[in-house]
């Protein structure tokens, strides 16, 4: 129990003191037994007050402090640092929020606000009296990072991580790097070929000896934690003899008699059973689909020295200090019959159209028919108020319009129809939308409850839509090709990654960051970051931005070789614990394991893994688990503090009146900075620059405080100077 507590109650320049009688409260808590210092201060966060606090802590030998001011979200760390500077353990500090949760919401009832503030402060004092000194947990970290997924986000992050001197392991599930952008012929807004971007990034990576790339590799097992993850990966065989002659390999590819499904081209064509995704695909070694060549013994016999069909998968163990997950997304796959997909022959998805365009350099042909008109149906698989994907996929409007412009540029005489719900070409992308409609692309707005219908009428495909802009006139559009603008969805294998690394998954099935604004690439798993589209729909620039943010975070984390982790984690009282395993069951992070304690088994907490969420605490039948800073004593004493009765004098009663009658502010003493300003006011007429020079304070600070001092009747303005630039101030 703390015996020498310091309490500071902030006026916040009136934000609090206009409604809460902070002076009275300051006096009231001064009388408490274990409170040594109790003050009301004008601005608790001001430098001068921080200095005063440090001096108080040291002079009075305080063992805990309570600052009653604004929300801890603003100044928790400010005052923790004050405590640290004064030699006090920062855990012995409690911030009480009497602004956002007291003076402001109850500005309509100042007296009751004062009562509530008293309760809040009493709770804070109670809580801090149970506080313990906690030390941050220091962990040593390996200067190596694992990047999962070699798409554009992963490759850019790998390069940045390597440049900062980290060992980088980049693993890719496919046999070739590049991910989704390799499937796009042109990328907005630079109109670069996706494959060229991939090649440039790959060649850049090759310049760094500290990047190791594994293709055809998957994560199998993860153990360890921040600073020291052990990740087992499985590298699938390519079945190509590493010593084989390049020309022979090329010949084997050309002569291969068996065809297989072409994943890269989304099944629009077939490919040889010895393949590369595309001729320039990297790494420049083809892959053999060994299963498919089982019966082609003549062929395999001929190339026996080139192929190595007995090659086996390898398992490797990688040690990484931190992990960046950039596993990307899947294209939404329309259900059979959704807008005629798979049931009407000329209905394709946008990614399929993008592949078709690359495969058809001169004339756009599908199913042997030249395509002259295309109808795009937007929001397929996104913004479904009743379906799974409630989110907007964000990049598809731009992607479609860009494709439409490309179509017109590449093939002459193309008419496109766009059936949309809302066009969301935010930012610079809006210019493309303008360009598209100027070129005569026709846009039709439809409502979700009146979806377009695709049907066949003789030889032609008809899309029927109720056009919003002609008061829902029913329109028929004849199109040679109907293109479904499909959304980005979380990868099917995201759940595997989520289970391995314990990354939380959101309602939309994408990985969840801690906070969308303030911790956008961090996950609750310490040392595991997310970047790119595995987190949610993004365009290429946004994906790269987020993965680079993750890379910077990792670099900063790994830089010093050690990392200190917040000590607010679960603790098990080994005497009470009987090991039932319930805590271990509910923990999403496998932070709790059965350990031997003397003669018996108890729950042991892995300090590096525990997030301090507290889920384990309520499930313990023995009440053996507590979270540091949220112990039963602390919480229950806070509750006791809230309900305690107070004897509070009404404002204007008693001693304060006398002080106010003299026109002085009713605080015990002025803040240091006010004293300095008053000392700098040498005569009857002082301008702000003069006061600033005299008191050696920044003029902005003087301006700011003079305004408050004026409000409290400490100083008053006394006309303006001759040039009417500055007000004169004088002491009242």
């Amino acid at each position: 129990m703390k015996q020498r507590i310091g309490v500071y109650i902030c006026h916040c320049g009136g934000n609090i003191s206009d409604y809460v009688d902070v002076e009275e409260l300051g006096k009231m808590f001064h009388q408490e037994e274990n409170v040594v210092v109790s003050k009301d201060v004008m601005f608790a966060c001001a430098d001068s007050n921080q200095k005063d606090m440090v001096a108080d802590i040291q002079a009075n030998n305080l063992d805990a402090i309570v600052v009653c001011s604004c929300s801890p979200k603003l100044h928790l760390h400010t005052f923790k640092n004050v405590a640290a500077r004064a030699g006090l353990n920062p855990s012995n500090y409690v911030q009480v929020n009497i602004r956002e949760q007291c003076s402001w919401p109850h500005s309509d009832r100042p007296r009751e606000a004062t009562v509530k503030a008293a309760g809040l402060i009493r709770a804070g004092i109670n809580r801090v009296s149970y506080s313990e000194s906690l030390e941050n947990i220091e962990l040593s970290v390996k200067k190596s990072a694992l990047v999962i997924g070699a798409g554009v986000s992963g490759m850019k992050a790998a390069i940045d991580l390597a440049r900062s001197g980290n060992e980088v392991f980049l693993i890719e599930k496919d046999f070739f790097v590049g991910g989704r952008i390799a499937q796009k012929e042109t990328l907005f807004p630079t109109n670069q070929n996706g494959k060229e971007v991939v090649a440039a990034l790959y060649n850049e990576m090759k310049k760094f000896p500290n990047i190791t790339i594994f293709t055809g590799a998957t994560v199998e097992k993860v153990s360890g934690s921040l600073g020291n993850f052990t990740v087992d990966i499985k590298v699938k065989p390519r079945y190509i003899n590493p010593n084989a002659d390049k020309k022979a390999v090329k010949r084997a590819m050309d002569e291969c008699p068996v065809n297989v499904h072409d994943d890269f081209n989304l099944g629009l064509v077939e490919r040889k059973a010895i393949y590369k995704n595309y001729p320039e695909a990297l790494p420049d070694v083809p892959v053999v689909v060994a299963e498919a060549l089982k019966d082609a013994t003549d062929f395999t016999g001929k190339f026996a020295s080139t192929l190595n069909l007995n090659e086996e998968a390898q398992t490797l163990s990688l040690i990484a200090g931190s992990v960046l997950v950039t596993t990307g997304y899947d294209h939404y796959q329309p259900k059979e019959g959704e807008y005629g997909y798979k049931t009407i022959s000329n209905v394709v998805t946008l990614p399929e159209l993008n592949r078709l365009m690359e495969m058809n350099p001169d004339k756009l042909v599908y199913n042997g028919k030249q395509i002259k008109s295309l109808a795009f149906i937007y929001c397929v698989g996104s913004r479904q108020t009743k379906g799974d994907n409630k989110y907007c996929s964000r990049q598809c409007c731009t992607s479609t319009i860009h494709t439409s412009l490309q179509l017109k540029e590449k093939y002459k005489d193309i008419q496109t129809y766009h059936l949309y719900r809302d066009i969301r070409t935010y930012g610079k992308q809006e210019l493309m939308y303008a360009e598209s409609s100027k070129q005569g692309d026709l846009y039709f707005k439809y409502e979700e409850k009146e979806m377009p219908v695709v049907s066949v009428d003789g030889k032609s495909t008809i899309v029927k839509v109720k056009d919003y802009l002609t008061a829902k006139k029913e329109m028929e559009i004849e199109a040679d090709l109907v293109v479904l603008v499909t959304s980005m969805v979380a990868r099917e294998d995201a759940t595997t990654i989520s289970e391995l690394f314990k990354i939380p998954i959101g309602r939309d099935k994408f990985f969840n960051e801690i906070h969308p604004k303030l911790k956008p690439v961090e996950t609750v798993i310490k040392g595991v970051y997310i970047g790119g589209t595995c987190q949610g729909p993004k365009n290429v620039s946004e994906s790269v931005q987020s993965s680079l943010a993750g890379a910077s975070k990792i670099t900063a984390l790994l830089k010093s070789g050690t990392v200190s982790v917040d000590p607010i984690i679960a603790r098990v009282d080994a005497d009470k614990c009987t090991w039932c395993g319930k805590c271990s069951d509910v923990c999403d992070y496998t932070a709790i394991k059965k350990v031997l304690f003397g003669e018996k088994h108890v729950a042991g907490v892995n300090k590096a893994v525990c997030t301090g969420c507290g889920i384990c605490a309520p499930v313990c039948p023995e009440n053996a688990i507590e979270i540091a800073q949220y112990t039963d004593n602390e919480i229950e004493s806070m509750i006791d503090g809230f309900v305690m009765d107070f004897d509070i004098k009404e404002k204007g009663a008693g001693k304060t009146v006398e002080v106010e009658e003299e026109g002085k502010v009713g605080m015990k003493e002025y803040p240091q900075v006010w004293r300095e300003i008053l000392a700098g006011m040498t005569d009857e007429k002082n301008t702000i620059p003069e006061i600033a020079t005299n008191s050696k304070l920044a003029s902005e600070l003087v301006t700011f405080h003079l305004m408050t001092m004026n409000r409290y009747g400490v100083v008053v303005p006394a006309g303006m100077d001759a040039k009417e630039t500055y007000y004169y101030y004088k002491v009242k």
């Binding site: 409609s437 029927k464 002609t470």
Partner: protein
């Protein structure tokens, strides 16, 4: 169910429409238009119909005629889609659709064809003059006769069928049932529009444009009346003579201002002049001027020695009566008046 027809845009561009595809249907044009009402709102709706190529809906619509082209919509358009000009183009296209001969459409779409027609009529007049041995009296007699005959025959052969077609497209085909009594009671609207253009007064544009147009219509109709029925060129009455001078002067003075604004392109409505617009204002100007000069030469007794002037006047007259009146912009005078009349019929 209507079929989308993007080719209509290409067709309409031959009638002078510009960048209406840039429209993103914000509706600023309709909001800013002082003539658009809740019951009859335009021009956004017409732009949408045009974009989608809904020819039948456009043909059934009287809205293009309800617009008097103040140009405010075009100045306010955030995408520079020129809605005002689109309405103008639709009027040209409709004129072509109403015309059973199809000649209007051909002339709107082809400048060479229009020029050929002008040259042909000029040659015809010259041939006639040769044939008449340049006998001024004979020529003037025929000229006077021509005017009366041309008016009557164009009315019967071209305008009556065309108006019936317009009535069919806008009233009968969309299935509007109008009791006969209403046809009679709504007649007032027709005459008010024809002579006063009252509706144009509601345009946000300044009143001067309406006034100019008003006195031009009055001047033109009076001049027609003076020359055809009061035989201005041969009259002995001083009052008729002076009246003719004044009216012809009004016609060519006002048209000078019209030509001038089209050249300066200061206002939205003057920015996109089509050949048909130029022909209309210039020939109107020439009509007024040559008529004025002819009578002046008669009064000064020098026409006998300047027969070329009368031949010029006669040429302008023939071209006006045979090309511009039946197939050119003159028709808007008629169609607009009928459009207002039909709109009145459609009112519930």
């Amino acid at each position: 169910m209507s079929r989308v027809n993007p080719k209509f845009a290409t067709e309409l561009s031959k009638y002078g429409s510009s960048d209406f595809n840039a429209c993103f249907n914000c509706g600023n044009c309709t909001a800013t238009c002082s003539l658009s009402t809740a019951d009859s709102s335009f021009p956004r709706e017409m732009i949408r119909y045009t974009t989608l190529g809904l020819e039948d809906d456009i043909k059934a619509s009287l809205k293009p005629w309800e617009c008097y082209y103040c140009g405010e919509c075009s100045s306010e358009c955030p995408r520079q889609a020129e809605p005002g000009e689109l309405m103008m183009s639709l009027r040209r296209w409709l004129t072509a659709k109403y015309d059973w001969t199809g000649l209007s459409g051909l002339m709107y779409k082809s400048l060479p064809l229009s020029i050929a027609a002008f040259v042909l009529t000029f040659v015809g007049v010259l041939a006639f003059a040769f044939n008449a041995d340049f006998d001024l009296e004979h020529m003037m007699h025929v000229g006077h006769l021509f005017e009366a005959i041309a008016i009557a025959s164009i009315m019967v052969v071209i305008f009556v069928p065309n108006i019936i077609r317009m009535w069919y497209f806008t009233i009968v085909k969309p299935g509007t049932k109008v009791p006969f009594k209403k046809y009679v009671s709504s007649m007032g609207e027709f005459f008010v529009t024809m002579f006063v253009q009252k509706r144009a007064l509601d345009c946000d544009d300044n009143r001067f444009r309406w006034f100019e147009h008003f006195i031009l219509v009055i001047g033109y109709l009076s001049l027609l009346f003076t020359t055809v029925f009061m035989d201005w060129f041969s009259t002995q009455y001083l009052a008729v003579n002076i009246f003719g001078y004044v009216m012809s002067a009004i016609v060519f003075i006002v048209t000078v201002d019209f030509v001038n604004s089209r050249m300066k392109k200061k206002k939205a409505l003057n920015k996109h002049s089509q050949p048909s617009d130029w022909f209309f204002v210039i020939w109107l100007f020439l009509m007024g001027l040559t008529a004025f000069m002819t009578r002046l030469f008669i009064d000064l007794n020098i026409l006998e020695t300047n027969k070329w002037l009368y031949i010029l006047h006669f040429t302008v007259l023939v071209q006006w009566a045979l090309i511009i009146v039946p197939f050119g912009k003159w028709t808007h005078f008629l169609y607009r008046s009928f459009a207002m009349y039909f709109a009145k019929l459609k009112e519930k």
